[in-house]
Symmetry: C2
Subunit: 142 residues, 2 copies
DNA sequence: CATATTCCTATCATATCACATGGAAATTAA
DNA sequence: TTAATTTCCATGTGATATGATAGGAATATG
């Protein structure tokens, strides 16, 4: 499997935040209930999104999380690259291809590179706004 | 990681067989030595290729494996679909999307389906012959 | 202060991966 | 026929990633 639940849940968190369409902080508890996912697991995921500056969090009463940008300004790639351990389709491509010493002579290496580019382009040409519109027809974004 | 060593090794086996450009059976021992991969591991991989009718094997002295078709008639998809446990980029898409009960309402499902199609198209539009030519400029195929 | 909520650091069960071991069956050459 | 070769078949194993869970410290509100 390429994209793990971790990355998929991250996208669902972002969609949920966008759908609330609020300038208030949204408690993770609410997101976990709506999405029917363990709050503790979501916690570890949204932490990565905070560190990656995709969302911001505030502690204490009235705290929670909120988006930092408009949803058309988040690409799916932005979200996945933070939450997935690797977006390379093959191990040869990790660490800029330093991982494989056969890279220079390998007959399959250019092929994997092309596959990687194809996937990366696909993921970085879609925004959070695209996902919202795709299903609702509406526009939740500011 | 998306494509495991299993699938990558399978492609290297197929390339190796094509490069021998022979109507004789090629012993797996030779392939393992040339590719510097454990023969026993390759054995379990090439078994899947035999069962999938991509190659044929013969036992005993003078035995080995050989391709059944011209290499322009093998797509990379053909090879990977046999050797990888799943080519679906996300779990939601396994078993024709039956795996996920949220599929009908999920805002991300159409997106994953598109990603899957993009990848599948990429993999099924390249043949073994393409990989051989890409690196050597020559044509090993009949 | 009491409560809500994020942050931080562990731990754990399960599955998959990459590979190894041990042999049975078949084919050919001598 | 015998020995050598080689595919076929089943099962075992250590390492790693994944998908969680647990407990508590820090911080903000009222």
């Amino acid at each position: 499997m390429f994209i793990s639940t971790r990355g998929r849940y991250a996208i669902r968190i972002m969609i949920d935040l966008a759908e609330q369409n609020s300038s208030d902080f949204i408690p993770l508890k609410d997101i976990a209930e709506r999405q029917d996912i363990s709050e503790k697991y979501l916690e570890s995921i949204i932490n990565q999104l905070v560190k990656g500056r995709l969302v911001t969090g505030r502690r204490g009463k009235g705290g929670g999380y909120k988006l930092l940008k408009n949803c058309q300004d988040y690409t799916i790639y932005d979200i996945l690259v933070l939450t997935e351990t690797s977006l390379a389709p093959v191990a040869c491509l990790d660490d800029n291809g330093e991982g494989c010493r056969r890279a220079t002579t390998c007959k399959t290496f250019p092929f994997w590179k092309e596959l990687d580019q194809t996937i990366t382009q696909f993921l970085s040409h879609r925004t959070l706004a695209d996902l919202l519109e795709e299903h609702t027809g509406g526009n939740y974004c500011i």
